[in-house]
């Protein structure tokens, strides 16, 4: 039992890298995704962005991660750390999905909401900030939470380039004990609890942003 407990703690040290990766790539994904979504409304940029997005969605994430970690030093002469390579690769990949989510969210707002704002003489910047975006954010929240959950699970790929995350620690503990079952189950518990936590927080937010308040 004490063996299990010490494995549990040791694998838990991988939590730091997993969470750093998750926050880092979500922030990159959200900012780059927002930029892409806005640029998609510009007619000249749309083809370039479509190509970029289809590449990101059409190739394995493991390949994209390897491309950044193993080939950037050869091309640019800079050796990226495992963490920064992971944040860049996962962040850029997730930006493609977030851009699509945002675009669909903006298109889901009825034209009449824009027209009502114009008719009331509301300036464009305020219309986007106070009328359109609050509704978009509410509509896309479930899809966005889904993306965060996917992102969390995808961070486990960092183990393939030597990142010491939950996954990698569980493999190391398994190798040392000649028994993979318990360590991998422990890693599964960590991921599952994290996902449940994210889902719980999203429910709280959804309830708070519900329109139907008496």
């Amino acid at each position: 039992m004490s063996n299990f407990f010490s494995s549990f703690l040791l694998i838990g040290t991988g939590l730091a890298l997993t969470l750093k990766l998750l926050f880092g790539c979500f922030i990159i994904g959200l900012s780059l995704g927002t930029l892409l979504a806005i640029l998609k409304f510009c007619k000249i940029c749309v083809h370039v962005i479509d190509l970029f997005v289809s590449f990101l969605r059409g190739t394995p994430l493991l390949l994209q991660l390897s491309l950044i970690y193993f080939s950037v030093p050869g091309i640019f002469g800079v050796q990226l750390s495992v963490l920064s390579a992971g944040i860049i690769a996962f962040g850029i990949n997730s930006s493609a999905y977030i851009a699509e989510i945002l675009r669909a969210g903006i298109e889901s707002i009825p034209n009449g909401q824009f027209e009502a704002a114009i008719s009331l003489g509301i300036p464009k910047n305020r219309m986007w900030r106070d009328i359109i975006m609050p509704q978009v954010v509410k509509n896309i929240l479930p899809a966005l939470i889904n993306e965060i959950v996917d992102l969390l699970k995808e961070t486990a790929l960092i183990a393939t380039i030597g990142g010491m995350d939950i996954m990698r620690y569980s493999q190391i503990v398994g190798a040392a004990q000649f028994n993979y079952f318990a360590p991998l189950c422990i890693a599964a518990i960590y991921y599952y609890v994290l996902v449940s936590l994210i889902t719980w927080i999203s429910r709280l937010i959804e309830r708070r942003t519900s329109y139907v308040k008496a």
Binding site: G112, E115, I131, Y211
Partner: protein, 220 residues
């Protein structure tokens, strides 16, 4: 005061407005009748500037506000916030206080006094209609364009809308109302124009006829 001169609008190959000319005097009510697709809504949308006419001129003095068939209240704001948001953009402390007082008085006069803190999703169709009207009155418009103000309302609510629009006119607001409901239109308007395929077919003064609705149906 609103004047249209030879206004035309084409969508693809469909002529939606065909050299339409009309005028409405200050604090007058003009009714637009016609079947679906006759160009009523497009005419209103051109006056508001949502659509650009392909030819012709629109002359309108003063502020125009549009009331949508589906109201388009902002769903994430309560009724009071819906009313004060636009006027508050140009106001500070004490003026905002005044806006709020004005909005509450307006809501009270429209029978929505207890709905100030409700979200639009909780209002009935008639209540949403009144809230939308109140919201447009908050920006002191000179012209109000109403697209199908009675659609989906019951008989009692329609009677309310009629007395409400009369009350709005008495504040000096000019109105153009597009509707399928001939009984309602002939009751409220000084002048009713019947559109067919984007053209004005007939123009009547409902007060001059015994049964204006029946007269209009003959031209449909």
């Amino acid at each position: 005061m609103l004047k249209l001169k030879e206004v035309s609008k084409v969508f693809g190959e469909v002529v939606v407005l065909d050299h339409v000319s009309l005028s409405v005097a200050k604090s007058g009510i003009l009714g637009l009748a016609g079947a679906s697709g006759s160009g009523k809504s497009t005419l209103l949308r051109c006056v508001q500037g949502f659509e650009k006419p392909d030819s012709g001129e629109i002359e309108c003095n003063g502020r125009v506000c549009f009331i949508f068939q589906d109201f388009q209240l902002f769903p994430h704001m309560n009724v009071l916030q819906n009313l004060v948001y636009a006027p508050d953009l140009k106001a500070d402390g004490s003026a905002r206080q005044k806006n709020e007082e004005k909005a509450l008085a307006l809501l009270k006069s429209l029978g929505l006094g207890d709905k100030a803190n409700s979200f639009p999703a909780l209002l009935s169709g008639g209540q949403k209609q009144r809230a939308a009207l109140a919201r447009s009155l908050m920006i002191d418009p000179d012209i109000i364009l109403c697209d199908e103000p009675t659609s989906g309302l019951d008989v009692m609510s329609i009677a309310d809308v009629i007395s409400l629009l009369r009350e709005v006119r008495s504040r000096g607001v000019t109105m153009v109302i597009a509707s399928h409901d001939l009984g309602f239109l002939t009751e409220i308007s000084e002048k009713v124009i019947l559109l067919k395929n984007g053209r004005i077919v007939v123009e009547i003064d409902p007060k001059q006829h015994d049964d204006p609705s029946k007269l209009l149906t003959q031209y449909y």
